[in-house]
Every structure is written in C-alpha cells, then in structure tokens.
Symmetry: C2
Amino acid sequence: MLAVTILGNNSAVPAFDRHPTSQVVTLDGNNYLVDCGEGTQIQMINYKIRRSKISHIFISHLHGDHYFGLIGLINSFSLLSRQQDLHVFGPEPLKEIIELQLRVADTSLSFNLYIHAIKGAATLVDDEKITIKCFPTNHRVECYGFSFAEKRQPRRLDPQKAIEHEIPSSFYDRLKNGEDYTRKDGTVVKNESVTEPALPGHRYAFCADTKYDESILPHIEGFDMIYHETTYLDNLRERAELRFHSTTKQAALIAQKAGVKKLLIGHFSSKYDTLEEFEAEAREVFPDTELALEGVAYKI
Amino acid sequence: MLAVTILGNNSAVPAFDRHPTSQVVTLDGNNYLVDCGEGTQIQMINYKIRRSKISHIFISHLHGDHYFGLIGLINSFSLLSRQQDLHVFGPEPLKEIIELQLRVADTSLSFNLYIHAIKGAATLVDDEKITIKCFPTNHRVECYGFSFAEKRQPRRLDPQKAIEHEIPSSFYDRLKNGEDYTRKDGTVVKNESVTEPALPGHRYAFCADTKYDESILPHIEGFDMIYHETTYLDNLRERAELRFHSTTKQAALIAQKAGVKKLLIGHFSSKYDTLEEFEAEAREVFPDTELALEGVAYKI
C-alpha cells in the first residue's frame, strides 16, 4: 500500500506549530523521505516514523525550508550507528553543502552516503516495487517534483478455479506472474482461465514549490493522488506569481487538468493562522481536495 | 540583570523531548545566543524569546548539535525583514558553510551579517554594558567557551546624604560615576561621603563541550554561575575521556576549583531518559548545582 505522511506543511518560517516541508512516502515498509526542513528528525520522533526504514531521500530544491534538516538527520543516522546505504537525490550543490559540514566536524559516517545530483526529468529509482522519477517545476531556483509509481501488482488468482484445474499450489506464484500451467499429459491451462488481471499500481506525486505551470501535467496525469503547494489563498495571485508560488485555485486547476483522483494541499504561508479557507477555496475547483495535515498518513 | 535561558540541554541526537544545545544570555533587554542546535528557532517560539533582541550569536564548535539551527535562524531573520546588524562568532569554517548555503539559494539578506572567526582566547565584545570573551576548551574539534561579564554598576548614591550636602540632583549621575562635587565657594564634597561602592558586575560562563581540563579555570574563576557539560554520569569516565566529554563529578570539581557560586549542568547523553542522578552526583562534589532545564531562565 502506498501512503504519504506529512511531517511539515508550512512554508518558509515555522509558525502556529506548523513545520517546514517534509513528507514520508511509504510502500511495503520502505520509507522514502521527500524534503527535509529543519526539525524533520524531531517530527519523525513525534510521529513515530521509523528512521531506519528510510533508504532514499529526495530534496526538491535548496531553499532552507526544504533541506536545512538534512544534515542533522544524516548526522543522527551515524550517531545511531546506521549501517545500510543512504541515497540522497537533490540539486547539484547539495553534495558540497553536506560534505563541507561533515568535513569540518571530522565526521566519518557509519554508513555509505551517496548524494546524487538531479538534472531535468529523469528516473531516479526503478526496482521491483517502485519507480521514482523527478520532473522540473517552475520556481525561483532549480526545483523538482517527484513521482512515485508502485509497480503493477501480481495477477489475482482465483483459488477455486485453480483447484478445479488441478493445479498444484506450488505453481500459484507463477500463475500470479502470468504463466500458463502445462499438465504432465501436455494439456495447457491458460493463465487467464484461473487469474484476473492485476490491479494497476498506485501513483503519487509531490509537486514541490512551483508557480502555476501546466508543463508538469504530463508527469502526474491520472495519478491517484498529488500534493501541490498552495502558499496563498486565491486573492494573492499576484504575490504568488511574483514569488513563484501557487494559490489554492491554481493548485486545484492543476489537479483537475491532470485528471487525478485526489489533491493534497500544503506549504501554507506563515501569514495564515488557520487553514479552513484553503480547503474551501480549492474544493470550489476540485472537490477531492484535502489539507496536508502534520502527523496524518494519507493512504492511497 | 544577567540571566540565562536554556533552549536545549541534550547532546548529539534529540531524545526524550530534549533538544540540542542552545542558550540565551540576557542582560538589560539584550539577548546573546550561545550555540544554535537544530530547532533552536522553534524553541525560541515555544519559550517566547524575542528573536529581534538577538544582536550576537556565539558558536562554540562545529559539531552539528551546536550549530545546525544557525542557517535556519539567519534565514528566518531575513524572511521576517530584520534590519539590525547580526554578529556571529565561531570557528573559521562557519563563514564558508553559511555563505555557501545563502549563495545556492540566491538569498540576499535583509540585514548585515558579520561572521567573525575566533581563534584562541580573545575579547569578542566590549561595550558599556558587557565584556564577552572566548576561551579554548578541550574537545575533539576546535571548541570555545564564552564568558559574559557585566560591567561594574554605577556607585550607589545615598540621596539623603546628597541633600544634606546640598548637591543639586542634576549632578547625581556624575556622583554615580565617581566624581567629587565642588561648590561655588570652592569647597569639595568627596564622592565617598555621598556614595557607596558599586556592586561588582555579574559574571556567567558557558564552558561548551570539553573533557575535564583545569586550563579553563583562569577564565571562570570566581564567577557567579557557570554552565559545564555533563554528558555522562560518573561511572562512564572512560567513555567521557575517549569522547572528549565530562562526567557529573568532573564538572562539579571544575566548579569547586574555580570557586564559582553556582553550577548549571547539561548536554546530557541521549542514553539517559531521566536526569535526577546527574543532579545528585554533581551535588556530592558541588552542592550548588542545578540541572539546565529547557525553558527555564536562571537568574544571577
């Protein structure tokens, strides 16, 4: 099951007990961390996120509210004697920033740290469970969204039919993978006669910081859920444009045009002490909108 | 009045709702920030520290739990449109670290930031109210303690005696500064006959991270209060030695040998979930010991 847990939903300056951007995408017990604002490791403790399950970290851009917590998390991993590799993906200068801070502290990490520079749209991870890609967004500095596509599930076996066709249970996994069964007498049981097509894998995208820009649509089309920033309510469109951010209705319009099932909104400006209006405005355009609330796991 | 408010009292990894090192030294409405672990700006919000009153920041060393929150605080100052100068003192590579992170984000600060490299024992600030010095401590990397010495107060005027000597009240400030009063007829009223000696200024020292090392004694002798780290209880002396940290009894012995009035202890290892034993052990050697508790202002 694909899910995303929000650790921080505020923009820029922490305020009203809202924290800078960070979210954890979870699939089958693996945690993928997206952005890592200051205090993310403390939010992980607060919300009982298993830090040891984080294998990959994705940093959208190098504004502080999206990555100032990364060096502290890496440092803590080492102090806690982490052993497994850690892969970090982010804009190119990130490597220099992290390595400089490790060097001046004379730190030898307890694990292998790989910092990968991202550039343009690309596939970052592609294993048997998930495909993770990045795509550029339109922000004041180089910035990337990330898409998480669960691999297609195995075909669904109908056990009753398998028994009727006298297929041994030891062959069931191969049936789920789409194979036909050949009896000893040479007769063939076609896979389709005992299985149903697999459900498609779920897809989630984090659209980072961005002004309204339809060029991201091809990267998120038909997704089950997307997160799109809504720094401002819709009466501040001009300010949003000026600062390369989006409003509620702009985010909702992207969700609508991309034909996604559900929209999460966040990255709220510190000028707002309450969030109800964000939800109300976005829902006028795209009804299946929810506020990205800290500590909440949104399941797909 | 000199006071110190603890924002973080834990070492290395945040744990048990204890945060990495940071304290605010306050004198007459000025705030001096000492160390700035990750999340310090959030702790400031929690404990209602007026960020705008911080004119100087002192970073003891470049282990992350003492400075990873600095870039976020600087960034927030700018986002909040700070105007007044900010002076930061710390080991030499700090400047490169901060400037690199500002540069990659294309940040123009709203205020003048001066990052001063410290080296050896030195006077860092000397104005009409306070003298602030740094002194080396004995840690795994270059590390400094900081001493805060309130300037001597004005002499204390006895208004009754001043009236008896027919001294006009417009001359009182000069009396407090030690001047004699000369009447029109040439007779002199000696200052000592209408004033009492000034109370000495209060003194506080933050002794940073350090193993037991008596070389810091000359920098803290006779102080009203010092903070000395106690990463471990006294049964872990060997580990403390190995990691360039101190135990409870070692900190207490430094306080005793320096002849200070009060000892604050902190920088507790994350292996301890409770702190009572720290206080008990230190008090065996130096009774006027208190735990440095987050959110508490210790007044001198």
